[in-house]
Amino acid sequence: MRYIFFCIFSFTLWMLWSGQYALHHPLVLAMGVLSCGFVVYLVSRLDIVDEEGIQIHLARHLFLYIPWLLWAIIKANIDVAKRILSPKLPIAPRIVRVRGTQKTDLCRVIFANSITLTPGTVSLDLDGEDIVVHALTEEAADDVQSGDMDRRATAMER
Amino acid sequence: MFIAAMIGILVTMALALCRALLGPTVYDRILSVNMFGTKTVLFIAVLEFLTGRPDFLDLALIYVLINFIGTLAVLKFVRYNDLGAEPEE
């Protein structure tokens, strides 16, 4: 079932990229189908398709999460850019631990990636429930430790 | 306007190259190579708009993927000194 979904997905992608021409040429179309089949075979050998690949219910939460994340990224970008440009270089790098309360691996990955995507904080290591974060400034460290982002990432699991 | 973006990207490339040449540690250099790859993607995208033929964006797409895989391969080499090693965990 998962492989059928994956096959349909990769073929849709192939059609998007090179499909306009292929519709009139059965040979090229056959090549596309063959290459999709080959990719699915390779992936099935690697055994990396599991339930995490298909989580439609996440999409609904992502619509709420992504705009908030973008806003956070913009704010953090402006802050870090100011600090880089100012001649005194007012940074205070530090390492802090942040608790990630997510249950599923996927949401943990989304949380850790969001931390990294926000300039000023980079997730360095996963240690049990904690995430080791390198923060460029005190404000950034306080921001990530306040748990706002953690709450929002956890909210996606429901 | 594309020219302004192009010049900006070129300046960033030059800065990344400086860090790659200066970089005291191996990781500094990998970071700047990774950043150089991202800038290549952006440059190709902007260039195709500048020349008025944005049909070859697949090239930029390929570069995003290759850059990611390349960085991971390099990191694996740095970590285990061997490309075929099994992860420890």
Partner: protein
């Protein structure tokens, strides 16, 4: 039409300025872990704004779909490789420069 052009120009110019700032950060910041943040600026908002500016230019065509795909892939892969880089450096024993006492 002209509004879209102006929007895309603003995006492109802001994006390239942010890229340059990120490059400066890569050069100015004192140690490796801080430089990761400089790279983060160019990868997140710098690249994103430039690609969005290009999207405004291309309108609703196949090109926009490809640009959006590049943006999505970039937003997923760039933090992953930054994290891998930081973790590899941490495991190898490269000590971060910290100004504060409360480590861990």
């Amino acid at each position: 039409m002209i509004i879209i052009d102006i929007l895309s120009w603003i995006c492109l110019i802001l994006g390239s300025i942010l890229c340059i700032i990120g490059g400066l950060g890569l050069l100015r910041l004192p140690d490796f872990y801080s430089r990761l943040h400089g790279g983060g600026i160019t990868d997140s908002l710098g690249a994103g704004l430039i690609l969005i500016g290009l999207m405004f230019q291309s309108g609703l065509t196949m090109v926009t779909v490809k640009l959006a795909m590049i943006l999505i892939v970039l937003f997923i892969t760039s933090p992953t490789s930054t994290h891998a880089l930081g973790k590899a450096a941490l495991i190898s024993g490269l000590k971060p420069v910290v100004t504060d006492e409360h480590i861990d």
